[in-house]
């Protein structure tokens, strides 16, 4: 697929898109063919804190923003997927290899991968995010420099890999060797950071659906990451979003890629177990 060429006609596509959306009751079908689960039964580990259902952030966005994600020709995030396909095939590093040398066609080799990350890596003895795994392959398989966490190259590659799982349910494991990391993330989720003394749960658990000033609060799910934000017109990793949310409580934040944010990502991902992988999603 070449998204660059087809984006030129996005304006025409937009004009024939269906006009009626219904906010929190809207249904998401990508390209008219991939149904996306945006409301799912709440996973058992939540113990009812979000009620019976978990909801994708897509449901809380405006009709226009919702529409932008419905068709790949309108979704500006797909340009970055296209760029990552080129870098997938590019040889880099001392071993003279590209991702394709070992993983062939991502449509086959990466199907379902995104849905299970972050996940425990037995050999390394650590919970790995998708970004950490990509960098591990660059350093230890290709002999190339790691990419900077949550920056352009790696976030685009995460989007390419995620696209291969679109429509599949998020299913991260929280037990076994991942459990202590998951517990750490859970504790962070309920910690009231900063001078405003606000936890993730204050906003995204107790108040989803409510307006905070001009923002319509969602459940803060990450099934849509990487996310194309209209606000900064690029793809954003979940750690960058966490960083912004903590900074806005007038707190000292954590860095993308830090062990704390890896733990938080695992926990937040697990709150979305059952929602479809949607990346690259579109948000404001």
């Amino acid at each position: 697929m070449n998204f660059k060429a087809t984006l030129a006609c996005a304006a025409f596509v937009a004009s024939v898109a269906p006009a009626a959306f219904a906010g929190e009751d809207a249904e998401l079908v990508l390209n008219g063919e991939i149904p996306i689960v945006t409301t799912a039964p709440a996973p058992a580990h939540l113990d009812g804190v979000l009620g019976d259902e978990i909801k994708s952030g897509w449901l809380f966005r405006s009709d226009e923003t919702q529409a932008t994600q419905m068709d790949d020709f309108d979704n500006p995030g797909m340009i970055f997927v296209d760029q990552a396909q080129a870098s997938w095939d590019t040889v880099e590093g001392s071993e003279g290899k590209s991702c394709a040398s070992c993983h062939n066609d991502p449509a086959e080799s990466m199907k379902g991968v995104r849905a299970t990350y972050p996940k425990w890596n037995e050999e390394a003895g650590e919970v790995r995010t998708l970004a950490m795994q990509i960098n591990d392959c660059r350093e230890n398989q290709m002999g190339a420099e790691p990419w900077k966490y949550d920056k352009g190259d790696i976030v685009s590659m995460e989007a390419l890999i995620s696209v291969q799982s679109r429509g599949m349910p998020v299913n991260v494991a929280i037990d076994g060797p991942a459990q202590s990391t998951w517990e750490q993330g859970k504790e962070m989720y309920y910690t009231r950071y900063g001078q405003f003394e606000l936890s993730c749960a204050n906003c995204h658990e107790d108040n989803f659906g409510n307006m905070i000033r001009a923002d319509h609060l969602s459940q803060g799910q990450i099934n849509g990451f990487p996310v194309y934000r209209l606000k900064n017109t690029k793809l954003n990793g979940s750690h960058s979003r966490f960083k912004g949310c903590i900074r806005d409580t007038r707190a000292e934040t954590f860095n993308p890629g830090s062990p704390e944010f890896v733990a938080l990502e695992l926990y937040v991902a697990s709150r979305g177990n059952g929602l479809s992988v949607e990346a690259p999603s579109v948000r404001n």
Binding site: I212, R247, D248
Partner: protein, 157 residues
């Protein structure tokens, strides 16, 4: 990202003017969270209080509360109750306590404490995301609190 609250830099003028200002650490809350004594010793200015409540860069109380008297301010939040009639429901001392440190009135409240300087987890230097050391400057100075309390006292049904 959303800047749903931003607090103006505090002027040092307020500190100079009021020899009687009660420091954040010295505020006396009663058992129900009320504060009897004026924090600044100077009566509050309700008009200025209204400006603080509505201003994104100051109190920005409308991020979480609807205030009918400030209907011209767009995007009022719905996290806390509407403040209409707050002047009927609460005495001035109670309002002073709620604004200074709401957690003394409502246990575990989501509402920030506007006259408190210590006891935070990973306190930051305003919205920079960088670390700051306590005591932090309070979110509002003593006179701003008194102005906001004076405004809230005017909110009658």
């Amino acid at each position: 990202m959303m800047k749903w609250i931003a607090i103006a830099a505090l002027s040092s003028v307020a500190g100079m003017a009021s020899a009687e200002a009660v420091a954040p650490a010295d505020v006396q809350f009663d058992d129900y969270g009320a504060v009897e004594v004026s924090l600044s010793g100077t009566p509050g200015d309700a008009a200025n209080g209204a400006a603080i409540v509505g201003d994104k860069k100051q109190g920005n109380c409308v991020a979480c509360h609807q205030v009918g008297a400030l209907a011209d301010i767009p995007f009022q939040g719905e996290i806390g109750p509407a403040l209409n009639g707050a002047g009927d429901r609460w005495t001035e001392a109670e309002l002073r306590g709620i604004v200074s440190n709401s957690k003394k009135t409502f246990e575990g409240s989501m509402m920030p404490s506007y006259y408190k300087t210590t006891g935070y987890i990973r306190p930051g230097d305003a919205f920079t995301g960088k670390a700051a050391s306590e005591p932090l400057p309070p979110l509002m100075d003593a006179q701003m609190i008194e102005d906001v309390v004076a405004f809230l006292a005017t909110l009658k049904e």
